[in-house]
Subunit: 348 residues, 2 copies
Amino acid sequence: MAEQQPQLGPRKGAVLRAVVEEYVRSGEPVGSETIAEHAGLGVSSATIRNELAALEELGYLKHPHTSAGRIPTDTGYRFYVDSLPAGGGLKDAQRRAIASHYAEAILDLEEVLKGSVQLLSRLTRYAGLAVPPNASEEPVVRLEVIDMGPSVMVLAVGQHGRVDKRVLDRPDGAVPSTFARAEDRLAGLRGLTYAQAQARLLQMAAEGPADEHELMLHVAETLRTAQQGDRHAHMVFGGVANLADEAQAWRRETLRRLFETLEHEQEMLQVLSDVTAPGNALSVTIGGEHPTTGDLDASIVAAPFRSGETTIGTIGVVGPTRMDYVSAMASVRAVAKRLSELATELDQ
Amino acid sequence: MAEQQPQLGPRKGAVLRAVVEEYVRSGEPVGSETIAEHAGLGVSSATIRNELAALEELGYLKHPHTSAGRIPTDTGYRFYVDSLPAGGGLKDAQRRAIASHYAEAILDLEEVLKGSVQLLSRLTRYAGLAVPPNASEEPVVRLEVIDMGPSVMVLAVGQHGRVDKRVLDRPDGAVPSTFARAEDRLAGLRGLTYAQAQARLLQMAAEGPADEHELMLHVAETLRTAQQGDRHAHMVFGGVANLADEAQAWRRETLRRLFETLEHEQEMLQVLSDVTAPGNALSVTIGGEHPTTGDLDASIVAAPFRSGETTIGTIGVVGPTRMDYVSAMASVRAVAKRLSELATELDQ
DNA sequence: GGTTAGCACTCCCACCTTGGGAGCGCTAGT
DNA sequence: ACTAGCGCTCCCAAGGTGGGAGTGCTAACC
């Protein structure tokens, strides 16, 4: 769909790009005069006006009112983003900020993610967010059932450093030896992926002794939620305060809804997964292109990050539709790349 | 200090209370007429005016400008709060919301806290926040050093369900048997409190074999940060979106700073600890009474929660200085109480 | 045909003015 | 000690206004 309307004629394209860039810069509707002067097209404002009218007709621009300048529609931003050259766009200062941020070695992927999200929020002045690795393909390093008296804690540790826990009622009839035996059997699952281990556990629960049955089911359930993210998923956010910035385009009411949505992790996970492009591509979602962002006049720029060849998570930024897409895309791309290298390294 | 200025004369007190309540309700500066009519003091507005002037002189009220009504100063709110009767103030709907919220049994204290914080934010329409238990007095249930290949994970599990982890470089010369032996020795620490276990570990590091030295130090360090909260503390927030509410008193710029501060967990922890009253009392911090809240025109209502007789954490709300203190205090008190019961129960 | 200059027109917005009202302080009288 | 009354201050919402930005159109030009 990025290839749907590439043909506007080179000049219309240039005019549209000029409008987007100027509007993003200034926040004011852009008039024909401004473009005639700054875009270096060598034509008069009257000609630009004709082009603007045509672009509006085509749905790329709109008018707040008759005698105001133009602002881009979501479709206009979309064209702009699709017409951007693939690489680059990173300012020197940003490049340096990224380099120095990752200079310090951190071994815990979770910590790395937190740092990366904050880095992104500083680079872009928007809010950074990340979806941590889904555990499905991660090998299990340790599985434990810990006797805590009236309750039991199930603990799962993954190769990439994730730790999932779950506390539950102590099963009837469980005695200390139940736990010891269960742990012995769980030790045998080491090295399997979460998905495999979960499957084995369901089997073990069915075949094993009755007093372990419930315990094993709970361990399986713990692994399942670790894979789904479920309602215990921990998205990572950073620089959310940026969204409240004075200069930002949101009305108070929209701002409130925006924060509410961000707090609602489940919805954000859904959005991120809807939005993430298949493959390793950077994805840009502009306003109405997704119901949630449309509701919030927001855009999301996100990219998956990998360990080796496997995609293990997503990182990106949320900002107003009137976003500096060039900078945001470059920053997200660079951080995701760096993050992939790091994650790959952490996994050996 | 709550007893510093209890004597304003009964009428001045009544007038001040009326101003606070009316202002909290309406958000508009309150005039003498309004009070004369609504406060039921049986005196004319002229008399009220005299009282208002006196209260302003005393620093309890202020004037946006000459011909406007009065609004309370932080000191005014303080007097108001201190003059409130100790109990009650909970509306029936709130009482029911609390009861039904805790109807569902949850075993993980962390989950309980998240729920409680969200409950508080719904009850008060402000932002809820909580400081989870500090680990010092919590018994250690399990300590592990997990061989993750190029790195090592230290894992500590506490009796109340906390899990702390830490990933670090694999010490030089560590072999599988190093970990096995270390874990054996760590198993001996079970049942000690975090504080005790940390002390023992430092000793063990000094006395034990060289190849375990570094490992033990790292375990000790993990326990230390678990106790301090350090920079890895996980405060719990909920309903932060409430603060962006249309009707709220904050300017955009202040709102931004507020969100920034909330993101800065370290600072919030400091504030909470500065603010928490010794003993089990509910504490109310109003605007300028603390540098951070003063900067943000914010107030904090917080109360410790206990397990048995030991204070293990803090829970409360943050809102504008123009806060409905009665409702906030009642909600926080009730939730903290319920939470204490639950925590006590969870610890047997 | 595309481009341009020019111009009338629209509409907003920032500015000012203005009247009314809310609320105060003060004083004098009860 | 309280209150009625009054003059004063200051805000604020409601018009009114001018200017400016920007448009759309037309007619001329290359």
